[in-house]
């Protein structure tokens, strides 16, 4: 017989907490070690995801490291072997209660009218630790209350306990140090600089981490009280980062999203767009009942009638042109279940290969077949190569994770871009290319010794996405292929933006054998070859970069079926519009950009008679004579696990045990090679056009969230300040912008982020009374790049 050696973990540290022998991880702070072992030490300033500052002094405990008990802030000191911690010794308690009384001394105690009331650590502490009523009889500090420090956040300095959380977040995490301590001592306060609001894409997080009610968010103020909140954990599908959220409702209405700390993804943070667009779920303008096109326009009809019409439209199309004459666009907005049910309907029931979850604004699905990286892998790679859009605007929390990788000195960023991005100031090296020439930029990079030395230092992850909508995806793919040819071990993180575009594509909403991609589908429709176009939450008129193509396609398609949550530009042209249940109105799963599958949860009942997409697909299939066999979303989830390679594990049960989700890649997708890049010559056209998205635009959910609707920057043609004079107009003037396709009039803006010789126009901006110009009019989906002329009127 052999004696089993006990396995000793080198990272384990043994110490005593209140006499109990416990083990903690090396480097753990006492406050964390205690919490992990069931001893909660009160705190206000400590936050696990930020550096410790030891400001509030609430976490003081007596610690004996052999030199007798010492009173120390447990948020500052790491555990040490055999250290004795006393969280409830008389001195520890005295210190904590003393500090609490001091924190309360200046506090207005206006809990009844405070949003935080009921979920306030200060309030809770006061009950559990505090000495009850305050002995502080002096005059308290008075400040004007509350003051708006941005469009979304209010600050009440009287409630503030100066824990440095919001300011640390703004500086350390978001990199927008726009709120700061001012003044000194007893007059210390948080504030912004006069006329420079806390305009951060991440400001909402400060509201969530404020341990008191000093910071409140305008969309939530006075909306509800914690005790009548119901909550469900879910995943944000606003973009494809897939941040974990707690969806909170009151009286069957969504009132708030709170970030949930998911280690592989969002660390508890959310961007303001994802946090506040819950307002759109509650919007008055939601589509509540089916709409059927009649001679006099759309008329509300029953589901029965609408589904009959839908089935009829499909059958007629089949009769008229066969399966290939039917095409489906969209599905990136729904759940995996929605996508899978619709994929079955399109591919198996109808039998068409012409299916795409993208809208000519993404990348060939082949990128999903590459050697893919997770967010963690990207954020720990020695070198991160960016061949992507401005992540701060398109995938905000991925931006936070990559910025953190740089701040923590884990990674260096090499950025290839046409325009300065949010990460440029954190990049080790940025090389600017002229749109279309990214392959040359890659060649130059590969020829650069310093760069190759850096690349040689460890893992490499390439973040690839569609940086420019006025450019085809070909130049990006060409550059990517060149990179991967030279760096065969590099992994790829696809920066595709739309919420569940990766999931929809992976579970089947992609071209079948010989099928058309989104551009092909639109061209076919424009050429009258599409008998029936199904828009699954897709709005080509607002989302397809080439506006003219979109218009011609919708005009050319003989029948249009739209499934949507709102009456979009495109669904206004549909023969039948089916109201879809929106976010938080249905259960299911979603897949983020790294392939991570997580649960999304229903929290409120769907608006009107709207239904989940998967259910609609099932009913249509039934009317077409096929039973997809789905009666609950769980049935669909199981079917996915059964039929989709890579999703085997993803049963409902497994996912409920893994709230952080499981990564499912798509071995079944085959890489496709892009067409060659052909750059037209510039001559008369002085500027090469860049069109990309900003965080706030006219996207359905943003536009229907009052708090966000006003934040879009608005359309304008941005050029380098040095080019302004060359144009002969001055900033703010309207100028004529001409491409090979059309001429539109836009206001001129100077922008140091834009390189000379290029011009940037933000995509899909709200059209103002004075300017209805659509940048899409200038874009030609068949051209590699778009060159423009800018002239005075």
């Amino acid at each position: 017989m052999t004696i089993e050696e006990p396995i000793v973990d080198p990272n384990a540290v043994g110490l005593f907490i209140n006499g109990q022998a416990v083990t903690a991880r090396k480097g753990d702070l006492i406050i964390k070690a205690a919490e992990d072992n069931g001893e909660f030490i009160p705190r206000f300033c400590y936050h696990e995801r930020m550096s410790s500052v030891g400001m509030c002094r609430m976490c003081l405990v007596e610690v004996d490291t052999g030199r007798g008990p010492q009173l120390i802030p447990s948020c500052m000191f790491p555990v040490a072997p055999d250290m004795k911690v006393f969280t409830d010794s008389p001195t520890s308690k005295a210190a904590q209660e003393g500090v609490l009384e001091l924190l309360l001394a200046q506090h207005p105690l206006d809990c009844p009218v405070c949003d935080k009331g009921g979920e306030c650590p200060l309030q809770d502490q006061a009950f559990t630790h505090g000495p009850g009523e305050s002995r502080y009889v002096e005059e308290k500090r008075h400040y004007e209350k509350p003051i708006p420090i941005s469009d979304l956040v209010f600050l009440d300095r009287e409630r503030c306990v100066l824990c440095d959380r919001c300011t640390r977040f703004a500086d350390e995490v978001a990199g927008d140090a726009l709120i700061h301590f001012t003044h000194r001592g007893n007059l210390t306060q948080i504030n912004t600089f006069p006329d420079e609001p806390f305009a951060s894409y991440f400001s909402g997080n400060t509201v969530q981490i404020c341990p008191v009610g000093a910071l409140t968010a305008s969309p939530y103020r006075f909306k509800a009280r914690p005790w009548d909140l119901a909550e469900a954990e879910s995943t944000c599908t606003t973009c494809s980062v897939g941040c974990r959220v707690a969806v909170q409702s009151s009286r069957d209405e969504i009132v708030r999203y709170q970030g949930v700390d998911s280690d592989p993804v969002n660390w508890g943070w959310l961007c303001d767009r994802g946090r506040f667009n819950f307002q759109s779920v509650n919007s008055e303008q939601r589509l509540a009942a089916p709409q059927i096109l009649t001679a006099t326009g759309h008329a509300t009809g029953s589901w029965n009638a609408a589904l009959a019409t839908t089935a009829q439209l499909i059958t007629d199309a089949l009769a008229a042109g066969g399966p290939e004459s039917i095409a489906l666009l969209g599905g990136a907005r729904g759940t995996n279940e929605d996508a899978f049910a619709w994929a079955r309907l399109a591919h198996d029931v109808i039998g068409t290969p012409n299916v795409s979850a993208q809208l000519v604004d993404g990348l060939p699905v082949g990128v999903l077949a590459l050697n893919r990286a997770t967010i963690d892998e990207a954020a720990s790679a020695a070198t991160i190569i960016l061949l992507a859009p401005d992540l701060k605007d398109e995938l905000p929390v991925l931006y936070l994770r990559l910025r953190d990788a740089v701040q923590a000195k884990r990674s260096r960023i090499i950025e290839l871009t046409a325009k300065e991005s949010g990460l440029t100031r954190h990049a080790w090296r940025t090389s600017f290319y002229e749109p279309g020439t990214q392959a040359d930029a890659v060649a130059a990079l590969l020829a650069d010794d310093a760069a190759m030395a850096q690349i040689g230092r460890g893992d490499v992850v390439v973040v690839v996405g569609r940086a420019n909508l006025a450019e085809s995806s070909a130049p990006t793919i060409a550059a990517l292929n060149a990179l991967l040819a030279a760096l065969p071990n590099a992994k790829v993180l696809p920066a595709l933006r739309r919420g569940n575009v990766v999931g929809a594509t992976q579970v089947g909403l992609r071209p079948g054998a010989g099928g058309l991609d989104s551009k092909g589908i639109l061209n076919a429709a424009a050429n009258g070859k599409i008998e029936c176009l199904i828009l699954l939450g897709a709005d080509p008129l607002s989302d397809v970069p080439d506006a003219d193509l979109a218009r011609r396609a919708l005009a050319g398609a003989r029948r249009i079926i739209s499934i949507d949550t709102f009456m979009s530009e495109s669904s206004k042209l549909a023969h039948v519009v089916l109201p879809a249940a929106g976010y938080a109105e249905k259960d299911g799963t979603t897949t983020n950009l790294e392939g991570r599958v997580t649960r999304v949860a229903q929290k409120v009942t769907p608006v009107g008679t709207s239904r989940p997409d998967w259910m609609v697909a099932t009913e249509i299939a039934a009317r077409l004579g096929t039973d997809l066999g789905f009666s609950t979303d769980a049935d669909v989830t199981s079917a996915i696990a059964e039929h989709v390679d890579g999703y085997e594990q993803l049963t409902v049960a497994h996912l409920s045990e893994h709230p952080d989700g499981v990564v499912a890649l798509a071995p079944h997708i085959d890489a496709t090679n892009p067409p060659a890049v052909t750059l037209g010559d510039r001559n008369a056209y002085d500027y090469r056009l860049i069109v990309s998205r900003t965080l706030y635009d006219s996207a359905t959910m943003t536009a229907h969230s009052p708090a966000l609707a006003t934040l879009a920057p608005g359309i304008a043609v941005h050029v380098n300040p040095l080019d302004v004079s060359r144009i002969g107009a001055s900033v703010g003037d309207d100028v004529k912008v001409t491409s090979a396709k059309a001429t539109i009039v836009l206001p001129l803006a100077a922008d140091t982020r834009v390189q000379r010789g290029t011009a940037w126009v933000p995509f899909n901006q709200p059209s103002s009374a004075t300017n209805q110009a659509r940048i899409g009019d200038l874009i030609d989906a068949d051209a590699s790049v778009t060159d423009i002329r800018i002239e005075t009127l």
Binding site: V53, L71, G98, V99, L102
Partner: protein
């Protein structure tokens, strides 16, 4: 035995005592390079350059040059705390003198800037410090001008900059100046301020900037007077240096005695042997209490120090003994109160100071200091109650829970409690707001009680103790 002063050194008195840092004060032009060079100027630097850095460091270590900024930590030892082979290393000179009662560094900067500069150079050479920042308190206009001129002269003459005196030793000394915040004198706050931030003390650990300091690099922070000792030390050698003073406290110390004495003044005294009695009553020092009044109490080491009473007069000016007696020498500042002193009002001036100077970081200091001040103000104004007196202790407890050091007094049966004591704050500003209240209230409670309102009768505001 007399005390000599000069119109250009207001407050300074020399006597027949060793002069290690004040030897040039007698010359009106003591701050000029010309005068400096004719009085052994930069000889210490030359002596240092003739040795290896290690030898110079050993010299300073051997002489146990105690820090003069407050903590009294030996400079040589502190330099040794820097992690080996981590560079660059910086020197930050603490010229932020603002501890109540303290008046010495300003004189040294105004009257003998070259001596300070030479001290900095010696420190940089010995400890391998690549750049020196000389941080002068913002309100000291003259000191800033004199040091700026001296630096310009010294650069021109080749004492600072590239290859000093033809050696391989090169260093810049950069004049930096503050903008008015007492707490910035705390070494980690000084570093924060020097980095362009709010002068808030940094969190410990690390306990010493020597490990992680300016820009996260090893940094030595030394007081002006500490560094001013080095030229003499290097010229005359550690053997000579330790001859002055005692074994535990060699050399001299500059001490400012202010308040109700006949001759308030700044003196360079022999370390460790001179007693408080000598200083307050000696005719070559302060020559007694004004108008022959009685000594009531005195603060032995700057506003932060717990108070002493006549009982401690015969303690020598020696760190350990004073510490054992429950107070500290701190920055060499003695404040004397005679029997006419309104004790609660006197305590208030100090508590107000520390409450006002709190950086605002620690809740106990930020809120507690102000709270103490408010209550004390009420008591002094005659609107206080018995309850308020206990409250002063209760609030103090939130800053310094448990034992608090105070003047030990057989009379009052108070035992001495040595430093460091328990505190809920990062730095000593918080406890310092409480120290005077605690001392005054334990030593002279009767005066407070005479002030407070009883059963809501008319306030007793009559001047107390007159």
């Amino acid at each position: 035995m007399t005390a000599t002063t000069y119109p250009f050194t207001p407050g300074f008195y020399s006597g027949d005592r060793p002069e290690i840092v004040t030897s040039r004060f007698k010359y009106e032009d003591s701050y000029s390079l010309e005068r400096y060079l004719t009085t052994d100027g930069y000889k210490g630097l030359q002596a240092a350059l003739a040795k290896t850095p290690t030898e110079v460091h050993d010299e300073v270590r051997g002489a146990t040059v105690l820090g003069r900024g407050g903590a009294g930590f030996p400079a040589g030892t502190k330099w040794g705390l820097m992690p080996p082979n981590v560079y660059p290393r910086y020197l930050v000179v603490n010229g932020d003198e603002s501890e109540p009662g303290t008046y010495k560094d300003r004189l040294l900067m105004e009257r003998d800037p070259h001596q300070l500069i030479e001290g900095c150079l010696i420190a940089c050479y010995a400890a391998g410090l690549s750049q020196c920042f000389l941080y002068i308190r913002g309100e000291m206009a003259l000191a800033q001008e004199r040091v700026a001129l001296a630096l310009n002269e010294a650069y021109a003459a080749g004492y600072i900059g590239k290859n000093i005196l033809g050696s391989s030793f090169s260093v810049d000394i950069v004049l930096h100046w503050g903008a008015g915040a007492y707490v910035v004198g705390e070494e980690t706050a000084l570093i924060e301020s020097l980095e362009g931030n709010r002068g808030m003390p940094r969190l410990k650990p690390p306990y010493f900037p020597a490990a992680i300091g300016l820009y996260g690099k090893p940094t030595i922070v030394n007081n002006v007077e500490t560094l001013a000792n080095l030229p003499w030390l290097l010229c005359n050698g550690m053997a000579e240096y330790v001859k002055v003073g005692t074994e535990t406290s060699p050399g001299t110390r500059m001490v400012a005695v202010s308040g109700h004495v006949n001759r308030p003044g700044v003196f360079e005294i022999v370390n460790g042997t001179t007693t408080f009695r000598d200083l307050i009553y000696g005719e070559d020092f302060c020559n007694g209490i004004r108008n022959g009044n009685e000594l009531k109490a005195f603060v032995p080491g700057g506003g932060s120090a717990p108070w002493f009473t006549p009982e401690q007069l015969d303690l020598p000016f020696e760190g350990r003994l004073v510490g054992a007696a429950g107070s500290m020498l701190g920055s060499g500042a003695i404040m004397v109160m005679d029997h006419t002193t309104d004790i609660p009002a006197a305590a208030l001036t100090l508590t107000r100071f520390y409450a006002h100077e709190s950086c605002g970081k620690c809740a106990p200091c930020r809120e507690g200091g102000t709270w103490l001040m408010r209550v004390l103000e009420r008591v002094v104004a005659g609107h206080g109650t018995d309850r308020d007196l206990d409250q002063l202790f209760e609030v103090g407890e939130t800053i310094c829970p448990g034992a608090f050091p105070h003047a030990s007094s057989e009379k009052l049966g108070l035992a001495a409690v040595p430093f460091p004591y328990k505190m809920t704050t990062i730095c000593f500003v918080g406890p310092s707001a409480y120290a005077p209240v605690h001392s005054a209230l334990t030593l002279f409670r009767d005066e407070f009680e005479a002030r407070v309102v009883r059963r809501r009768t008319i306030p007793v505001t009559a001047g107390v103790g007159q």
